[in-house]
């Protein structure tokens, strides 16, 4: 199994624990991730103000994946969603594809329909398969309970990236958490948006969205909240203290990436999975690994 890794802008700079654990997990599961330094932005940040250029930038990445002849696999849900939407849109709008190709021609690139774009977690479930992942597990995390946060662009729009999960009742992250032997808490605010999309426009509003989920999870005393997107991480880990302060309270909600939990189940040590870089540390979990 071989895929082209789309790191995007945020993960390789701010979320090295996610990248490191994703690479290690793929290594063990027999997925070869290919790097291409020319891949960068997915176009999402420009979409709200200039969607024509955002689409060209997404098409640039799709054209690069096509040149490699590999599926494009992203760690960030916004990147995965934006690129999948662009592929869908261009494949169904030949006129737009022609416009984009005229802009890509000077760069020596051509977009052609048919590039497969997935989030890494989905790729693992669809290509490696849950049973094969379970078979590689060497460590039982049965004493821990994790609360998945699916986020939005990992699930929606279902008409474009559906099929893996029902956005109203998602289970894919839960199935992977359970593969480690750990328990899953499908808490009432499971489907809440992190609010990261409005952080730039209105910090207080974004904090209200994330804060409601943090308050709920704080009271439920889960081992950690589990993420698959660096933008959700900005809200739940990066902004956790600021949000608590604004709500005049304190949170202690540990935050981890799904690939870190999978890595532990696959027998890797916390240091190999970048846990030192987690700021909202899962102390209960890490204590179990101290010798």
């Amino acid at each position: 199994m071989k895929a082209l890794l789309f790191l995007g802008c945020t993960v390789p700079v701010r979320n090295l624990n996610y990248e490191l654990s994703a690479r290690k997990v793929c290594e063990i599961l027999g997925v070869e991730l290919v790097d291409d330094a020319a891949l960068a932005c997915c176009g999402y940040p420009l979409k709200g103000t200039d969607q024509a250029h955002a689409l060209t930038i997404a098409a640039r990445a799709l054209a690069q994946a096509r040149a490699h002849g590999l599926p494009l696999v992203a760690l960030c849900s916004a990147c995965a969603g934006t690129l999948a939407e662009a592929e869908h849109h261009l494949a169904h709008h030949p006129g737009e594809a022609a416009r984009v190709n005229a802009e890509l021609a000077p760069l020596g690139l051509t977009y052609e329909p048919g590039v497969r774009v997935t989030h890494l977690v989905r790729y693992l479930l669809e290509e490696v398969g849950l049973e094969a992942i379970k078979a590689k597990m060497t460590r039982d995390l049965g004493e821990f309970t994790f609360a998945p946060h699916y986020g939005c662009h990992y699930l929606k729009p279902a008409e474009i990236i559906g099929g893996l999960d029902d956005p109203e009742a998602p289970t894919s992250m839960g199935r992977l958490i359970e593969a480690t032997g750990a328990k899953v808490d499908n808490y009432p605010r499971l489907k809440d948006c992190c609010g990261g999309g409005v952080l730039g426009a209105d910090e207080g509003l974004a904090g209200s969205l994330a804060g409601a989920k943090l308050a709920e999870l704080d009271a439920r005393e889960v081992t950690a909240m589990v993420l698959v997107c660096p933008f959700c991480n900005v809200m739940y880990e990066g902004q956790q203290k600021a949000i608590a302060k604004r709500m005049d309270t304190k949170f202690k909600v540990p935050v981890v990436y799904l690939t870190q939990i999978l890595g532990l189940g696959l027998g890797l040590e916390p240091d190999e999975l970048g846990f030192k870089l987690n700021r909202a540390k899962p102390k209960e979990l890490l204590a179990a690994f101290k010798s």
């Binding site: 790191l7 090295l16 420009l46 969607q51 640039r60 849109h89 956005p167 999309g197």
Partner: protein, 165 residues
């Protein structure tokens, strides 16, 4: 509201924008508003109301409204809409028109400039690549040329680190 202050062409303008055509199908059930997580925290943000204002042709009121920038892009509205309006995309169409008319928030200009300067949103220097090397991760690069070509932007001189002549 005065009808002669309304622009009957606005809805067609929105519908002609990529992603905007869904607005024609709205029958105002407010499923979008009922499930919107932003609206739950900011009652003045109401997807159905923005759609109605657009259909009524309240062009300036919609384009100049700070509310149109508060969508978190969570797509919840699209999943529950019985008419496939796809409000997230409709609002993207409206925001794109607003941007062309100078209503974009200042962050929008900065985003394009960062991409033209760095080829990515977050800067990558030796500092970042040293941290990556410590963890055994391959280096990442800044290749802004493609982005400058696509966006038709050159990085501004001061920011590019060149001495003004």
């Amino acid at each position: 509201m005065r009808l002669n202050e309304c622009d009957p062409g606005f809805k067609h303008e929105v519908a002609a924008e990529p992603g905007g055509a869904g607005i024609r199908a709205c029958f105002a059930c407010a499923a979008c508003s009922a499930r919107c997580p932003v609206g739950a925290n900011r009652p003045d943000y109401d997807p159905r109301r923005l759609i109605r204002l657009t259909l009524l042709g309240r062009r300036e009121e919609v384009l100049a409204s700070p509310l149109i920038w508060l969508c978190s892009s969570c797509y919840t509205c699209g999943e529950v809409c019985p008419q496939q309006v796809r409000f997230t995309e409709v609002l993207t169409a409206i925001k794109n028109i607003a941007s062309r008319e100078g209503h974009a928030p200042p962050s929008a200009k900065i985003t394009a400039e960062l991409l033209a300067k760095q080829g990515r949103l977050l800067e990558v220097t030796d500092f970042e690549n040293d941290k990556r090397a410590d963890l055994g991760l391959p280096p990442v690069e800044q290749r802004p040329q493609d982005f400058q070509a696509i966006l038709g932007l050159k990085p501004s001189e001061g920011e590019a680190g060149e001495e003004p002549r």
